[in-house]
């Protein structure tokens, strides 16, 4: 079931074209990451889905409702990129307020605060919270009432490594419950394993939109092979396979994705002289550079 659909959506601010004709679909239970350089148009796209900013042209459909309509908002959870609360309230008071607006039981709000790890600070004023703690309050309010669509703008900013991990656990649970999750992020390493699809924006355009393996196949970025040899055989192996010698016993090779198996066959044929082989496909960062046109690394 399609939860979110963007068709040829455009947004211009005066002369500046912030979003230029993007098409995007997110299904129920799907986790999609929106990547892109600063100013690529990620936040603007999310804000259009919420109806906070009107579109210049195109169409957005949120579970069959117009963006920003009351019905659409009732089904959506949103974490803004710079989340702000009333500093004079406690996290508990703030979240109870949001729960009432969403017609969710306030006891559930307490559970969510517990879930994001704020159980010990519930009754402290938000004024006294650290950046990461505020981010968690933001996350908790976005989860109220298990929304059918969750829009999370840089949800992991300000979170420590453990909390990031916990955050993706929460996202997994959301998706398992049928929530369509669209999140923007700059923290690429976390995303590799924890999202179903990756959409990359560059200068307002959607330049990639597929799963990680599909992106890899399509980009045809080289695979890196790192071979550890016995010390005496390094010279010989280097001569027969090519590649770059790193040190006395290490050799680096790169090859196309579809040549990988043939290359591995050659390496294995060398027998006992090869002690170990590491195969590293193109990382998300390399893919990201490739697609967003910042191809700074030599091929």
């Amino acid at each position: 079931m399609t939860a979110l659909l963007l068709e040829n959506v455009t947004k211009t601010f005066g002369k500046l074209a912030a979003v230029r004709g993007i098409d995007l679909k997110v299904d129920a239970g799907e986790r999609v990451a929106l990547l892109g350089h600063n100013g690529a148009g990620k936040s603007t796209s999310l804000r259009m889905v919420l109806g906070l900013t009107p579109l210049t042209s195109g169409r957005i459909d949120v579970l069959g409702h117009a963006p920003g309509s009351r019905a659409a908002r009732a089904l959506t959870g949103y974490l803004p990129e710079n989340v702000a609360f009333h500093a004079a309230l406690t996290a508990r008071e703030q979240l109870h307020h949001f729960a009432r607006l969403k017609s969710v039981k306030t006891a559930l709000a307490d559970e969510l605060l517990e879930r994001v790890g704020l159980g010990h600070a519930l009754n402290r004023r938000i004024r006294t919270y650290s950046k990461g703690m505020r981010q968690r309050v933001g996350l908790a309010q976005a989860l109220l009432g298990q929304p059918a669509l969750a829009l999370l703008d840089e949800p992991t900013s300000g979170l420590d490594p453990i909390s990031r991990h916990d955050f993706y656990d929460i996202v997994d649970d959301l998706a398992k419950g049928g929530t369509a999750v669209l999140l923007s992020s700059h923290a690429l390493t976390d995303l590799e394993t924890r999202t179903d699809r990756i959409a990359i924006m560059s200068k307002g355009k959607l330049v990639a939109n597929a799963s990680l393996p599909e992106l890899r196949a399509e980009a045809r970025l080289p695979v890196r092979l790192e071979i550890t040899t016995s010390p005496d055989a390094t010279e010989r192996i280097s001569a027969s396979l090519g590649g770059t010698r790193m040190n006395g016993q290490k050799l680096w090779l790169t090859c196309k994705q579809d040549e990988k198996m043939a290359r591995l066959g050659q390496i294995l044929a060398l027998g006992g002289a090869v002690r170990d082989v590491d195969v590293t496909p193109a990382s998300l960062e390399e893919l990201y550079r490739h697609y967003s046109g910042h191809n700074l690394e030599a091929p």
Partner: protein
Amino acid sequence: MLSVFTIARQELLLARRNMWVATSVILMGLFTTVLTLAGDAPSGTLGVDPLLVATTSITTLSVYLVPLIGLLLSFDAISGESERGTLALSLTYPLSRGEILLGKFLAHFLVLGFAIAVGLGLAAVLVIWKHGMEDLSFAPLLKLFVTAQALGAAFLGLGYLVSAMVRQTGVASGIVIIIWLVSVVLYDLALLGALVADNGGSFTKNLFPFLLVANPADAFRLINMPDVSVPVLSSGLGAAGGASGLAGQVTSLLLWPFTTLFAAWLALRKVEP
């Protein structure tokens, strides 16, 4: 509709936390007490209702204070939230902008009403304590309360309007100070100047009565002290029949809150957080 009360509830909590309730109550309580004590006739003075004396001086005070409190409570309501980023998040919840505005209004109206009630209550208690209960007429006090609420509501609406129209809270605060100065001081001075220049001509007869009640602060003043009246304007008041009579005063005090709130709602609908 329930959202209105949810918003109002949070606003009341915030008003308490941010000391707006305390500030308003202290302002009203302090000044009414001082004025009641200072303006008090020695007990036994012939035939003057001591409560009437008190309401007269409190009216003069309220003309300045009630609009000020109204504007203080409201100038930050939209622009401040927009600036701090809390408005954007609120707007992604399933409630309309009208409900947000109404909720805030309800809360601020209650805060204002509480402050006025404390002020008038203190005045009444002081008068009763000095003069006893006999011969007191509470009707003027009640009228003062109701009309002060209407006056306050008008300036709450004005504050929201300004707050929704500008982006920065700093600018909003500047504008509401100007609004306050104009409506409680400069407007009367300008009218007076025009009266003197006109010297009993057609302006005094035709336009002046309308212009006088058009200002809610003046309508409030007239309705609460019809006899004593505004000294500076009394020269023109002889001519000010019809429009500036009771009907005009009530219309002005009712029309201002509704129009300004409606205008604020229109402005809020255009706000992009």
